[in-house]
Amino acid sequence: MFGDYQNVVTMSVYGSAIALILIGLYGVLIKKHLMKIVIGLSVVDSGVNLMFVAIGYIKGGTAPIFSPSVIDKNVQMVDPVPQALVLTAIVIGFAVTAVALSLVIRLYKHHKTARIDQIKSLKW
């Protein structure tokens, strides 16, 4: 019974990560407003990060901090590597979003619109 509950929790985390990625992709691909596209991008990032943390999780594991109690009781720790990677990925995502927003401002000033279907001075 307890195991089933744990499974449901794990699956719901994975499910919401995938849902976030799909929502973000929808925003990027379908929406026409530049701001919505940028928001979509950062939603995709969150989904990937959530997935990454979920993968490093071990059932019943504690925080990966090296302390006497952890060694004594011989409890399992969750994998610290994905967490470290996610921290890096969050910072990178933040930087990309900042650049994207500044580009949106530039585009808006240049074209007097923030709708992507009205900005087409460059073509293939």
């Binding site: 990937v48 590597v81 890096t88 990309v96 580009l103 530039r106 240049h110 460059l122 293939w124």
Partner: protein, 492 residues
């Protein structure tokens, strides 16, 4: 001070973030310091390359954490060659931009900060031995490239940059997902250890991970159909940055893709995949290039096409073909660098950068026009220029494998290439009427850089032995996966 591969990353990043402080002392320092840093990197390349050629690969352990756990830098024949090429190209581009007028108008400070970070990130992609570290460097290169693409306010740089950013963000999502899947299967991020444990992954998972990596890195490597960003970014970015994209950023993307295919994955279809994608990339890009009226877009499409040929070379997979492909990468960096540098002076005063406006520029700008023509002849592969040898070696390698169709296609596409390059050269010298556009006199330092590159093209063309030793070593290193693993993980 002991010179080590860490300097490639640490010195330019440190300089990039301290330039604003130096700017407070004297304004000219913001231009001089990047030059000193890049010259130092070229010196580091010289020292390390001579060490690699005599004593073998250098594996640098960062912060005392040994190979499977910590991040390490691998400086072997291949990565060293590409890193040296990048640092030297970086220095030449700096020299070229030193008195570039538009950089004066726009803040030179920001330009050089971004440029140094771009060079550091690209070299980082090449010499790192850790998959996630590679992701971080790809993002550094990405963010700096987006910003440099949008550098000029007057042009449509922001639009090109936003396109690039969208595609680049997809690349990073795919790369992160790929790294994640890989990590769940092998439990490590070290490339050598991944290569060692790759056979334990079931084939289906291996293929899906490979597809994610290929999509993500194909975007940086300008592989079809992921190269929509390239023509816009090349044409809207400042001229020297176009040379930087061709000579530095794209090389890093191709290197990462090749490293993934050759060292990490041993999937049977991966090489055929490279050949097919390379062919499609080459054909589409060259056909698109022929109908461009904008000089910079034409050069961008030509650059994509060349990358397709490079991918074909790596896809054939024999040592001779790898040799040809690396030679082609070198040639492309030098020749396309020259074409972008001279081309951006030719179309300097034309806002639309049109080929038509170049009519009879051969008289007005004799040296620049001559250098552009030299680059054009070299890139289509006329003897006795550098481009001839790489194309010849590639065709010979394809002939060894009896790939007649491949040879025929490459030659046919070369004809297309000849047509659109000679059209520009013809316009320069035999244009019907005098162009109304005023030519821009090249600055002295820019002229020197272009003359150096032209000299290299002729030197390598007449006497290819100056470079083939390094390239042969690079090709041997790339093909030898076992020694890559044993160099990084000596104890295992």
């Amino acid at each position: 001070m002991v010179i080590s591969p860490v300097h490639y990353i640490a010195v330019p990043l440190l300089a990039a973030f301290t330039i604003p402080l130096f700017a407070k002392i004297h304004k000219e320092l913001t231009r001089i310091i990047p030059g000193i840093v890049l010259l130092y990197l070229a010196y580091v390349s010289y020292v390390l390359m001579s060490k690699v050629m005599t004593t073998g690969p250098i594996v640098e352990v960062i912060a005392g954490w040994h190979a499977p756990w910590g991040i390490n830098l691998v400086y072997n024949g291949f990565s060293g060659f590409i890193a040296s090429l990048m640092s030297i190209m970086g220095f030449l581009i700096w020299l070229y931009t030193y008195r570039f007028k538009k950089v004066d108008d726009e803040p030179a400070l920001k330009f050089y900060i971004l440029f140094l970070m771009m060079v550091a990130g690209s070299i980082g992609i090449v010499i790192t031995g850790d998959v996630f570290n590679m992701f971080v460097f790809i993002e550094i290169v990405g963010i700096t490239s987006y910003s440099l693409t949008a550098f000029y306010r007057g042009r449509d740089g922001a639009e090109a940059s936003f396109k690039y950013l969208l595609i680049g963000s997809f690349a990073s999502v795919f790369l992160l997902l790929g790294i994640m899947l890989l990590y769940t299967h092998v439990g490590t991020l070290n490339m050598a250890e991944i290569a060692q444990k790759m056979h334990t992954i079931p084939t289906s998972a291996k293929v899906s991970i490979f597809v994610m990596f290929a999509i993500a890195l194909g975007i940086e490597a300008e592989m079809f159909p992921l190269n929509g960003w390239a023509p816009d970014a090349y044409s809207q970015a400042p001229g020297p940055i176009g040379a930087g994209f061709a000579g530095i950023v794209v090389k890093a993307g191709v290197y990462a893709l090749i490293r993934i295919v050759f060292t990490l994955f041993d999937i049977e279809g991966a090489f055929q995949y490279l050949i097919v994608m390379g062919l499609i990339t080459m054909i589409i890009a060259e056909v698109a290039a022929i109908r461009q009226t904008n000089l910079k877009r034409m050069l961008a499409y030509s650059s994509i096409g060349q990358m397709g040929v490079v991918l074909i070379g790596f896809g054939i997979g024999t040592t001779e073909a790898i040799f040809a492909a690396i030679f082609l990468m070198f040639n492309h960096a030098v020749i396309k660098g020259l074409l972008f540098m001279s081309g951006s002076f030719l179309v300097y005063n034309d806002d639309k950068k049109q080929i038509v406006s170049l009519s009879r520029f051969g008289k007005k700008l004799p040296i620049v026009s001559f250098l552009f023509a030299l680059g054009a002849f070299a890139i289509v592969g006329f003897p006795p220029f550098a481009g001839f040898w790489s194309k010849l070696y590639l065709l010979l390698a394809a002939a060894d494998k009896n790939m007649i169709f491949l040879i025929a296609t490459i030659l046919m596409v070369s004809v297309v290439e000849v047509v659109y390059y000679l059209r520009v050269v013809g316009k320069l010298y035999f244009g019907k009427e005098e162009s109304t556009v005023e030519p821009k006199k090249p600055a002295f330092n820019s002229l020197i850089v272009m003359l150096i590159l032209g000299g290299v093209i002729i030197l390598v063309g007449v006497y290819p032995d100056v470079i083939t030793g390094f390239i042969q070593n690079a090709a041997d290193t790339l093909a030898d996966k076992a020694s890559y693993i044993s160099n990084v993980l000596p104890s295992l």
